[in-house]
Symmetry: C2
Subunit: 301 residues, 2 copies
């Protein structure tokens, strides 16, 4: 191809200008404000759990793609009202809030489990095959690869062919005893501190809080070791835990989640990896998996 002098002159004049003027930095919020509707999704009402407290509603998106048997059991327990009148009985600083039946270990007092299964497989990880995994380019010490799948922060081991959810702030896990398959999804915990990633691949993770974290994270810490409340009067009462699909449409929380496989999400991640606003003097050029925001917004009705 032969360039005509006039065209060459134009190219030469344009190129340095382009190099000198990168696109202006947009904050994550600015990117979100300009995002197309198609980059957002509504959580499935049959995979959305409402934890109703005196102070308000905590909304949890369940992760059937990672812990299908646990999520099935949780749906059964919610439909049967298992958690209605139970409590948050453990609040440990910089770790977790835990709720369910405080008397679960006492056969004489434990709530009936109804149609829920008493034994589930230890869903610590899943086959990586068939999972649309959006890789984060940054190094991670806990996993060979990290990224996002089904809208959740996740780890992946390409050699072992396994993937799993990562214990980030707001993630919901299924409490268990020492036996790996001792969780049934009735006792749940929510991460409220520095991400305890050492738990990855050691315990089933069943979802994440998408609204109302401040109702859990600000609870007074329990006085007993590991944040337990032995005194029932000090526990936080749970009015009900319901599946969104069983709640009348008008009473549902109208939330939308940013798709992690969208261009908007990729731009948000990059805006956070390299902050070029007036405050930051040294962009990190990096982000840790659990520092990546997973944006949630209220849908316009």
């Amino acid at each position: 191809m032969i360039l005509r002098p006039a065209l060459l002159a134009t190219l030469l004049a344009t190129a340095p200008a382009l190099a000198a003027d990168p696109p202006p930095y947009r904050s994550a919020q600015q990117i979100l404000d300009a995002s197309p509707v198609a980059d957002w999704r509504s959580p499935d009402p049959d995979s959305t759990l409402y934890l109703e407290l005196e102070g308000g509603r905590v909304v949890i998106e369940l992760a059937p793609g990672f812990a299908p048997a646990h999520v099935d059991n949780i749906r059964t327990l919610a439909r049967e009202g298992f958690w209605d009148g139970t409590s948050i009985y453990r609040v440990q600083d910089n770790f977790v809030v835990q709720f369910g039946d405080a008397d679960a270990d006492d056969a004489a007092k434990a709530r009936p489990l109804g149609a829920a299964r008493r034994k589930l497989p230890a869903e610590f990880e899943r086959d990586a095959k068939g999972l649309d995994f959006q890789v984060l380019p940054d190094v991670d010490g806990w996993a060979p690869q990290v990224g996002f799948a089904d809208g959740f922060a996740a780890g992946r081991d390409p050699q072992a062919g396994k993937a799993w959810m990562a214990h980030c702030y707001g993630v919901v896990g299924a409490g268990r005893n020492n036996e790996p398959d001792s969780s049934i999804g009735a006792e749940l915990y929510v991460v409220t501190g520095q991400s305890p990633r050492q738990r990855d691949r050691n315990i089933p993770q069943v979802g994440r809080v998408i609204q109302g974290m401040e109702l859990l994270a600000a609870l007074p810490r329990g006085p007993e070791p590991m944040g337990f409340y032995e005194d029932p009067a000090q526990r936080t009462a749970i009015r009900a835990v319901r599946l969104a699909s069983t709640v009348p449409e008008a009473e549902r929380s109208q939330l939308q989640l940013l798709r992690t496989d969208s261009a908007t999400f990729r731009e948000v991640v990059e805006a956070r990896r390299n902050r070029r606003d007036d405050f930051y003097k040294r962009p990190a050029g990096h982000i840790d998996l659990c520092n990546v925001p997973l944006p949630v917004r209220t849908a316009k009705r």
Copy 2:
């Protein structure tokens, strides 16, 4: 050296037995319970700050090794009672709690700064030379090297010859405006969520909370953007902020900190890198800097 047959036989018999029986796993708590007194240190009362709230005392160890000018100013402000009667005016979920003079930006209402300096250098990092730095063997995405220095979690860039404190849970930073040298140590924040390491090398860090985090982390989140409380009645009152050295001996908190240059600390880190208790089925073989516990205990009087 020539081995006698009998000795050789003994060695051969012993070696496999040693290899088959690694020392039994000890949890971090078991290691601490058995630790020698010499592995603990008492914080310098002139570098210890008491934040006195209605609910109790928050104890902060200052970091003169990382931010000497800020720590000097903080000492001056504490001696002059600058913070007495001020408030915690910002509580942002999964980020920070901030305290000081809520009217600092209003010249008509701002508290007098007394003998404190109005302008300080931007102490974002320090010369790595002369700093005893205990390297953590694990990869970190935010810094070329991470580890511990003066008892604080820290990053280091051997090529640049710089070191800095890391924004972990409980770390205390000096709020600033957009100008890098706009902090004077009067407005302080404490990290209460997932470690915001993107702030490393971008803002002076002046210490860390060594006792009482639950008094800050459990505060109700502020209703305004970024967790601010515009309504003064909703803020948390600060009775006083005092240097331990100005408090009568009998009223001081008797705390001891595990030395990060001790054998006990190295064992605790290893016990956390590879958990081999009955609960964990897959030891991580890794730990993130901000997941490493920095043990504190009450001294026997």
